[in-house]
Amino acid sequence: MAQPRVTPKAQEALDEDEQTGKAPDAKLYEELGELARFIDTTMKTLSEFSAPVNASTEQLPQAQTHLLNLKTQTEQGTHRVMLEVEAIQENHVQANKMLKDIAQALQHANVDPALIQQMHALGQTLGQNDKRLLDIMTALSFQDLVAQSVNKLVTILDEVEHRLLQLVVVFGPYQKQAAKTDQSKASEMLKQLEATKNTSMDQDLADEILKQFGFN
């Protein structure tokens, strides 16, 4: 936003007053008028942002919902993979038990030792697969990190929504050339927004604020 400045004309007048020692009332009055016009223009410009701000505010809850869906979907997918990994781990436990029993039986049956060796090798392969299954299981902890990042994003979006709604409330009455009652309503809305600052935004409150300030 541009900074208010003393117009060259007013500065010239002030300098002249300073040199002549004359009372600067009339010049200052002119300068105040310039400032008022500047502020008025700035406020009008800012109020023009209300429509895009409103659109953004309406989309933010959707973005939050998408993010939370993402968290739920990764959680469900992770549980699905875990279920399969656990089933294979359980099968491996059974297979290892059976291999041991078969190896013992073969030893008593005087079969070719190479065959018994192969049974042991098979058991070792299953053991290596168990290690890989455990690695898959621990790799799934990515879901927890995703969930934490999503939670942080949802918190940020909630904060942005608060701030955007504060802009709507602050500039809403100005844009509507509102009466005192509207400004009082705006003040009340700001208080409610402040009260929800550290909690998740109540969607009803967001909708009410947007409705009050002409956005349906």
Binding site: E75, T78, H79, M82, V85, E86, Q89, D130, L134, D135, M137, T138, A139, L140, S141, F142, Q143, D144, L145, A147, Q148
Partner: protein, 126 residues
């Protein structure tokens, strides 16, 4: 003293996926008496209701954070000797220091491997 494979272990994490992962690893390491809690408060209730030999806890949780649960355990005459292993994504030094000052038995940073978990458990119960 090596870890007793029959001791009751409490796994504390708000994420069901992480509870399942930690329980799976502990099971593969030979521990079968596993219980779970969703946050620090839930864990304290369970710790008071039964006898546990070991707690594996997350740091960031709603209702009661892992660090607050740890402080409550260390301040409780009945629970203060239970070893607590913190599992967390918070790798910052200040958190580690905070956990050590609060009396954590050891600390694992996510993502971790089963070997890391086993190493930390071995160090706690050596």
């Amino acid at each position: 003293m090596p870890a007793d494979p029959n001791m009751k272990i409490l796994v504390v994490d708000d994420m069901s996926t992480m509870r399942r992962i930690v329980k799976n690893i502990l099971k593969q390491l030979g521990f079968n008496n596993l219980e779970e809690a969703e946050n620090g408060q839930d864990a304290l209730t369970k710790l008071h209701a039964d006898t546990y030999g070991f707690v594996v806890s997350d740091w960031n949780m709603p209702v009661m954070m892992g660090i607050d649960m740890l402080r409550a355990i260390r301040a409780d005459e009945k629970l203060k000797k239970i070893p607590v292993l913190m599992v967390t994504a918070e790798a910052q030094k200040e958190n580690l220091m905070e956990a050590v000052q609060a009396g954590v038995s050891n600390y694992v940073v996510k993502p971790f491997t089963a070997e890391t978990m086993q190493d930390k458990i071995n160090k706690i119960f050596k």
